[in-house]
Symmetry: C2
Subunit: 387 residues, 2 copies
């Protein structure tokens, strides 16, 4: 298949590009480097050195001469760029990772909130129109987030919910309650995409993904130049990364608030497996298919304890520290999201293990001197005044 | 009270400005003239001559020297403009009509869809940040549309719905199913606003309004220069206007599809009354209050028959013609929206009467030569290919 990956330079985009290429697909990549630009502007770096997209693509193509990845620098906000590319390639599937992915970044202030919603929503609209015009039967696989659902007091189903009201019944898109301008942008995208499939017969799969952890895939470990990014900072860092890093350098694990807030997680290998399952099981024409993409559910406190336990196996002394929660989220809540969809398609989850955590911590220990301690603690407060 | 009206040059913005001014409020108006620019670009004109905003404000201020309206030309997309204005005025209430309001326009093609969502969603975001920064206790009254709900198979409540699922219960924002990129922009706005009130304690009233008809208010009839716009064209025209105009010139009333689609309606005087009731009954800090703003429910066919009946009283011969529906909407559907909120606050609806219709038709007859027949029939198809 011809597969176009948007956001191909990203944490997940790059490993996805290599995986699909190695599976024999013809892979095209697009990126506007907006994440690397935000890193630059904020003095943030991934922990391990990441090659430029140009060099790692060159290296991949050199070692896999029959499975070349074709990379195009460009921006979805420039509709002429994406119109031209899509009209030339006419991809069988498009995987759209190309959005500003940081909730804290979107909450810094007006400029960042507007950048996030403009980049994500309008970029996605341009892509929808490009598909409609040039390849209306292309299967669009769009990355969403479990965060759109918020933490409702009912079980979270996959995209839809049958409801009853005054003795009548309807099937609705599952209610959303996003908790940042970033998460809101994903909710807007989903409404726009659902409309486009309903009215124009587009084929769309919306993947509401949990928090992905891990940097090792079959391909990233082949060559130092194939590494994908590990973020531990206050903008792009995720909680498992932060805890492992704090454990490695003997700093207390920082929990925001009480830690009873519950989230969904998955290993990067499972992301790649889910993407491949989504490709193999496309939405029908006119279908807006929603799948929840995660394998496990933990509270932040449970995670901290897991990392503590793993660390103790290698004789690290671990403390846990609670910070005032900078985010606006429920301290304690019901949480029961479904993830049957990918399990039914055959996903065999790779669960979070002590072995994984110990290996992460050991990798970080070796590169301690690269860590910028000043970029770890949260600086963006959800309720900050006057920005 | 100091009241800022955004979109003050609009069909509803201008009558609202005069009404609130005449009630003794200090009124500030803002407009970017985007609707007049779209008219210009598409060769469309309102039926009756409309003064420039500058001249009608001048005239109002001359005849009401103690109740001056202060008008500022500017664009919400320019955040410096709205930051500066809001920081200077610190209004008690802001009425936000300032969005691209045409569903067909938003469906012309990519450029128009993107303009609509960019103008509406990002403009509204800039306004949210301006309020947060300079006047967080201001009551924001935002105009939405009944169209966000679509035509669900259950009763439409006002903004929220208590649902049960697997023996648990939650209160959700009422499900939406918008049927154009314009209607989608209003759904995005509502999610952004609901978030801002939840997290920042803003006071927001979201008015999901039906289709407004009529051009006469206590103030518009005082002076020819105070008239508000009457649109009958394929972009901004509404169905009651079109039917009255077709009746006046002996053309068949054009129903899109079978005419069994049902919509909500209200007289322009009731819009002004609802706005005043919303001002008097503000949302609390942190509250996202939703009110459905309409007084009557008709199918398009019922409306055609009403106009036919009224026309026959003045001996007009009326035919009805069905056009292929250019829109993507359900031909037949359940529809039972609630509008209790404003009735409870004391709204006395001014219902659609034969007298009103006859007076509209007679006014149109007098100015027949102004009608541009080429701009009436729908040109924008929801499912058009390749634009």
């Amino acid at each position: 298949m011809k597969i176009l990956i948007i956001g191909a330079d990203g944490y997940l985009g790059w490993p996805t590009a290599m995986r699909l290429s190695s599976k024999g697909h013809k892979v095209y990549g697009v990126d506007n480097f907006s994440k690397r630009k935000i890193e630059l502007e904020n003095g943030i770096k991934p922990l391990f050195k990441i090659e430029t997209m140009h060099n790692r693509t060159k290296e991949w193509n050199k070692t896999n001469p029959k499975k070349k990845i074709e990379f195009h620098y460009g921006d979805l906000l420039n509709h002429r760029f994406i119109y031209q590319l899509v009209s030339k390639i006419k991809p069988d599937a498009i995987i759209h990772y190309g959005e500003q992915p940081s909730a804290p970044y979107s909450m810094v202030g007006r400029e960042q909130a507007v950048f996030t919603q403009h980049n994500n929503v309008i970029g996605n609209l341009n892509l929808i129109f490009a598909i409609k015009k040039y390849c209306p039967s292309t299967h669009l696989i769009k990355l969403g987030t479990m965060g759109v659902y918020g933490t409702p007091n009912i079980d979270i189903e996959e995209g839809y919910l049958r409801i009853k009201h005054k003795n009548r019944s309807d099937l609705i898109q599952f209610p959303v309650k996003p908790h940042s301008y970033y998460h809101l942008s994903k909710a807007h995208d989903s409404l726009n995409l659902s409309f486009a499939s309903r009215v124009w017969g587009l084929r769309v799969t919306d993947l509401n993904q949990g928090v992905v952890y891990g940097t090792e895939t079959k391909e990233t470990i082949l060559n130092d130049k194939f590494k994908t990014s590990f973020h531990y900072d206050h903008l792009f860092g995720t909680v498992i990364n932060r805890f492992c890093l704090q454990a490695a350098i003997g700093k207390p694990l920082t929990i925001y608030g009480k830690g009873a807030q519950v989230r969904t997680f998955l290993n990067i290998e499972d992301t790649l497996n889910c993407i491949q399952l989504a490709i193999k099981n496309p939405a029908k024409r006119g279908e807006f298919k929603v799948r929840n993409q995660f394998t496990e559910i933990f509270s932040i406190e449970q995670l901290a304890k897991k990392i503590k336990k793993a660390s103790q196996k290698i004789n690290l002394k671990i403390n846990i520290k609670h910070l005032k929660n900078p985010r606006h989220e429920m301290a304690k809540h019901y949480y029961k999201p479904s993830n049957k969809s990918f399990l039914k398609l055959g996903l065999k989850p790779k669960l979070l293990s002590d072995e994984f955590l110990i290996s992460e911590i050991k990798k970080i220990e070796k590169i301690k001197s690269n860590i910028d301690l000043d970029t770890i603690d949260p600086t963006v407060k959800w309720d900050q005044k006057g920005k």
